[in-house]
């Protein structure tokens, strides 16, 4: 670092002179009288008796308010200078706080000027106590807060607008969600059916879906799936998947063919930067005229296995190993399995929102898990579609906020005769 005077010891530059270098000039500045500072400070000063009667007020504040000193000293209380709303606020919040703490700072109030205009201010008060600790008077500083208040009003307006729009978004989400699910499940002769959709967040539309619908010749199709992602883009895929599955099932009801068609559609529709895929189970239900009950062929593309809960009290997964995500690859491998549902048997389909739920009990990997769910189903067995769905609803309730993804459950059972 170079010093200007270090070079040759030339004449000092007059511009280098600091106020402290001339003691006389500096002390003249310091002698700015404290009385003048009080009167003309860039903020308002006010001293009141404990009952609020104004005992002293500075010229700055009188000027802001347009009052003469004699109008206020000994004649008005601090409260009298406030708007009615401010007065209520002062009585119910400001005053009690001041007595409790001996100080209150940064409270927003509005003062009423002599001409009736309003002056937004920020007020800080302290209680001055005597030598014995008894309160003597209240000292108050008042800052002009017009600019700040305008800014805050704008913030408040923006917040209210944001809240309003969030409500509107929630409403739209709820409506959209309903359009992605069947309003009510159709009734299938000889079968009890039930379903539940658990919404994890009202801020985003989830991507789970299911349906049950008649196909030709007394057969029925059902599906349940989960689109990767959330929000509007996922909702569009959900809608596309649902209609494609129904149309494909009419064209060729073979479950593997149905999912293969869906795979082709999704794979064509969404390529490049915006890959979209889903996991899904499609089932074809055919009444078994010989043995009674239903024969169900399930095809799965990367979806968690369905559970069969038997009338004999057992429960098992229906593995469909090797089934791949639908929409990700041009030719996804689709795995199928066939099961026979007789009286007292229940078939359970679910999405992984249930098994991925966070639980309080396990600390290490705190997800609920497939094994725990299988155990849960074994404890239920034997059951019915509606009992199983009710039990799963209760289970989801016990997880509370631990369910951070939407969850869909679809159950079908053959009633005991």
């Amino acid at each position: 670092m170079m010093s200007k005077t270090g070079g040759g010891g030339g004449r000092p530059d007059p511009g280098d002179q600091q106020p402290g270098d001339d003691p006389a000039a500096f002390s003249a500045l310091l002698e700015d009288s404290t009385e003048d500072l009080y009167e003309h400070a860039p903020c308002g000063f006010l001293s009141t008796l404990l009952d609020g009667t104004i005992a002293k007020i500075n010229a700055t504040l009188l000027d802001w308010l347009g009052y003469a000193r004699d109008d206020v000293v000994g004649r008005k209380t601090f409260s009298d200078l406030l708007t009615v709303g401010g007065r209520l606020y002062h009585e119910t919040h400001f005053g009690p706080l001041l007595r409790m703490q001996g100080e209150v700072s940064g409270i927003a109030l509005e003062l009423k000027a002599a001409d009736g205009s309003r002056l937004p201010v920020l007020v800080t008060s302290t209680i001055k106590t005597g030598g014995d600790g008894q309160p003597l008077l209240i000292r108050t500083t008042v800052f002009d807060a017009r600019d700040r208040r305008a800014y805050e009003t704008e913030l408040l307006r923006a917040r209210q607008e944001a809240e309003h729009e969030r409500e509107e978004l929630k409403r739209l989400n709820a409506v959209l969600q309903r359009t992605l699910l069947p309003p009510a499940l159709v009734s299938v002769p000889g079968l009890e059916v039930d379903a539940h959709y658990h919404i994890a967040s009202t801020d985003m539309v989830g991507g789970d879906f299911y349906d049950l619908f008649p196909l030709g010749a007394g057969t029925w199709g059902l599906f349940l799936g989960d689109v990767c992602g959330k929000g509007a883009a996922a909702a569009a895929i959900t809608s596309l998947a649902r209609y494609t599955l129904r149309a494909a099932a009419v064209y060729d009801p073979d479950p593997a063919a149905v999912l293969s068609n869906l795979n082709t559609v999704l794979n064509h529709e969404y390529t490049g930067e915006d890959p979209r895929f889903c996991t899904v189970i499609f089932g074809l239900l055919t009444p078994d005229t010989d043995q009674g009950g239903f024969r169900i062929t399930l095809a799965s593309g990367g979806h968690p296995p369905a559970l069969i809960v038997r009338s004999d009290g057992s429960a098992d997964q229906l593995p469909t190993p090797g089934g791949q995500l639908i929409g990700a690859l041009p030719d996804a491998h689709i795995a199928t399995t066939t099961v026979h549902l007789t009286a007292g048997d229940t078939l359970l389909l679910h999405t992984d929102g249930l098994t991925e739920a966070h639980t309080a009990s396990s600390s290490d990997d705190d997800r609920y898990g497939d094994e725990a769910f299988l155990g849960f189903a074994r404890a239920l067995a034997p059951t019915t579609a509606s009992d199983a769905v009710a039990a799963i609803r209760d289970l989801l309730d016990t997880f509370g906020a631990g369910v951070d993804d939407d969850t869909a459950v679809l159950a079908v059972s053959v009633p005991r005769c």
Partner: protein
């Protein structure tokens, strides 16, 4: 279990002489049971003193607040009765400050046997003027709108800063320590609804239904509940007594704790 729920919901605290008459102190709009801290030491030697926070105030359980229950004074009166039942201390002398005076009136009309008496401290059955009947409550509807505006304006002042503490926000531990102003801490949304209930309720018709002994204690100069309002309450409650305290302002329990405690003590002794 349920007993605990009611008592923790309202952060009920019981102090004083276990064998003395029971005095229940109810704070008004704005702060919490700390409003009584100067009066409590003066009452403790004679009485069992019950303190509580209205739901939404102080250390009450904010999760118990619902707009439905607390959009009228009836919900608050219900809370008062539930606390009385849960404590099972027999008839209480209920001291209600400001808006809580009317909660006491509603509770005593509904269940007189729960009360030995009512002390209505700076009460107002209706804050808004009613030109049709000549009633003067002291405020116009516009005034009350302005108060609600004041609450909003201060939302970004201290109450906004307080909200994370009230909510116990675990993601912001730096806000975890007790801040100043906490005794008047209020969730801004709850405060807005409570302000509406406080200043828009009209309980004038409930006053004649009070059958328990009642004392109307008003301040000599009160910007919120002017003297004629106290006189109105006194005239409408059959057999009530009226005292005008020397205290000024709306909070005699802070401004003149001795005088306030003396008025309460005298009334309890006279109604034993």
């Amino acid at each position: 279990m349920w007993r605990m729920a009611v008592l923790s919901r309202n952060h009920v605290t019981v102090t004083g002489r276990a064998d003395g008459p029971v005095v229940m102190l109810a704070h008004g709009f704005g702060c919490d049971q700390n409003m009584w801290r100067l009066v409590v030491p003066l009452l403790e030697s004679h009485f069992t003193v019950v303190l509580f926070d209205h739901v939404g105030a102080g250390r009450s359980d904010l999760s118990a607040w619902s707009e439905e229950r607390y959009s009228s004074l009836d919900g608050y009166a219900e809370d008062v009765l539930e606390i009385c039942h849960e404590l099972g201390l027999g008839p209480v002398t209920f001291v209600g400050h400001s808006v809580s005076a009317m909660m006491g009136v509603l509770a005593a009309v509904r269940e007189p046997q729960a009360f030995a008496g009512l002390v209505l401290l700076a009460p107002s059955p209706c804050f808004i003027d009613d030109p049709a009947t000549g009633y003067r409550g002291g405020f116009s509807a516009e005034d009350i709108d302005e108060l609600l505006g004041s609450l909003d304006a201060n939302y970004l002042g201290w109450s906004g800063a307080m909200a994370p503490v009230i909510m116990g926000n675990p993601e912001r531990p730096e806000l975890g320590e007790e801040l100043t102003n906490s005794f008047c801490r209020t969730d801004p949304d709850i405060a807005r609804v409570f302000a509406r209930v406080t200043f828009l309720s009209d309980n004038r018709e409930d006053l004649p239904g009070v059958t328990v002994p009642a004392l109307v204690a008003q301040c000599s100069s009160d910007a919120i509940a002017p003297p004629e309002v106290g006189a109105f309450v006194h005239a409408r409650i059959p057999g009530s007594r009226l005292v005008t305290l020397n205290a000024t302002g709306h909070c005699p329990q802070l401004a003149a704790p001795e005088e306030t405690a003396a008025a309460i003590t005298e009334f309890v002794e006279a109604t034993r």
